[in-house]
């Protein structure tokens, strides 16, 4: 909570998403209000199908909004043209669940990182400078640029790919980072490394981070504020300690009881 300020960074009002028509209508996200302050880390927790990812995609501008408004830094978000959309994406970036499908398999790692430098307006920089920037980004996430250059993303392991994603974020320095299940596809030991790096990055460039996860333990570990989502609605929200240690809603209590624990008895009779 070191860098938390009172400036509102991103605000959503009455956000709704409906998929399909008529009888097949599905309400994926239902009238969600969200206020995000600069430098804050929040988590959105819910089980599969609760609408977490749909909400994230709307915030990113990847899918249209059925109803409601999104305000970015006090102004209404405008992504009506491609140029404006690109401008918006300089400010908000994402890390997705599956590192194996996040990369274009025909492009080398160098190209991935160069794109980021170009996007930040470094297109005319001398080549040496670009290489130095890429090397710095790679060393930030404990990768060696000399070993990566001229390789394709699929030659890396899942953990390395996810770290390369963080190197991208390091180059782009966005205001908001949206991490959609960043650790669910990688094993528990790499998970600690990835989380450490994300937190280090946050301290370095003062980003605001939105974690989307079904792992309530992870949410508790990283975030200042936790939102619990059920069937497209936020059912409970508050500071991490408040929500995790003293849950009031039955849904939150159930989610908590479903996670295996090591210090308490795990009650299997509830499902």
């Amino acid at each position: 909570m070191k860098r938390k300020s009172n400036n509102v960074c991103l605000k959503a009002e009455g956000l709704t998403k409906v998929f399909g028509f008529g009888r097949r209508k599905t309400l994926a996200v239902d009238q969600v209000d969200l206020t995000l302050y600069e430098g804050e880390v929040i988590s959105i927790v819910g089980e599969s199908g609760s609408g977490k990812t749909t909400l994230a995609k709307m915030l990113l501008g990847l899918i249209s909004v059925t109803e409601g408004e999104i305000y970015f830094k006090g102004q209404k978000r405008d992504i009506s043209t491609h140029r404006k959309k690109k401008e918006y994406w300089k400010n908000i970036q994402a890390i997705f669940q599956d590192p194996f499908s996040s990369y274009n398999i025909f492009r080398k790692i160098d190209a991935v990182l160069l794109d980021c430098i170009h996007m930040k307006g470094g297109k005319r920089l001398p080549h040496d400078k670009k290489v130095a920037m890429m090397a710095e980004a790679c060393s930030f996430v404990n990768l060696k640029f000399e070993e990566l250059t001229n390789k394709y993303p699929f030659e890396l392991s899942g953990g390395q790919m996810q770290r390369l994603m963080i190197a991208r974020i390091f180059l782009l320095k966005p205001t908001i980072l949206l991490a959609d299940e960043p650790t669910s596809m990688i094993d528990a030991c790499s998970r600690a490394t990835i989380l450490d790096m994300l937190m280090k990055l946050r301290d370095e460039i003062g980003m605001t981070v939105i974690f989307i996860t079904h792992d309530i333990g992870l949410a508790y570990y990283v975030s200042d504020k936790v939102y619990i989502m059920e069937k497209g609605k936020f059912v409970e929200s508050g500071t991490a300690d408040q929500v995790i240690l003293n849950p009031t809603q039955p849904y939150t209590q159930r989610l908590l009881s479903d996670v295996p624990k090591i210090y308490e008895e795990w009650d299997l009779s509830t499902v």
Partner: protein, 338 residues
Amino acid sequence: MANVMLEVKELTTKYVTRFKEDVYAVDHVSLTLEEGKSLGIAGESGCGKSTLALSLMGYYFPPLHYMSGEIIINGRNITKMKPDDVRKSILGTEIAYIPQSAMNALNPTRKIIHFIEDVILAHDLYINKKEIYERARTLFETLGLPPEVLEKYPVELSGGMKQRTVIAISVLLLPKVLIADEPSSALDVTSQKMVIKMLRHLMEVGLISSMIFITHELPLLYNVTDDIMVMYAGQIVEKASAKDAVFDPLHPYAKGLMGSIIVPEEGLRDVKLAAIPGTPPNLKNPPLGCRFAERCKYVRPECRGVAVGLQNLTGGRTYRCILSEGELREAYKHEKEK
């Protein structure tokens, strides 16, 4: 002493890559599994957990090759048997395997009941379809699955339900040993709990006599299995009871693994997660000495150069390190004070 269901002696298996290089993914692994016991295998990606599971079934197909060692299931040595005999008389009836992506194991164009018919008919030719249906129905009812599932196509089921259906099918022929390879890693917490409950139920009602559970989620292992075995770079580095492995690990790697546990319990936010630096060695040419030496905080010059053997402690506990139990505990105590 209880009946030994599965005994593995110095099993070594390798992968041959398309450049004809050998990768020893399982390196001299020995283990015994008694009736009514469950064993958990933990370790990071690429440490050989899943390869060990595949190797235990004794059914090898390229690029996986058998090298040496013995596998004895319920008193029968299966390493000497022909692959076809293994398939007919061992798989399904003696040992069953739930793969990592069990959800993709079902044929999308056939109903569940047709899949079950195939499984049973492959082992027992003299059974009619009505009997099969009755048998499947009884089993599904015992396991708390709705029998309507039998008449459905896999696409009509949710992820958790598909996974539980696959588990039910795997125990149709009453195997002695069940190997579950990350059965819950693609599921959310609620479905995961249902799967775990079902596996425990299988043991309780005696449909299976013993189980091997593979995952990298330690809190899960702690709650499911009696013993935990930690693997690193194809070798066993520690084996202990679940409680000892989680709260009192001896091997530095096991210690590191336990430092990365995340559970939503009070006090978690005050601890800093300990990530293990570096990456595991390449198994094409593993280092001669301790395989963990490159990443170990307590490394000594004598760790490199000579192979490190397993040290046995009382109570069936083993670990692979040149330091003695006392020295390791001293080092951890010192670390904690710092």
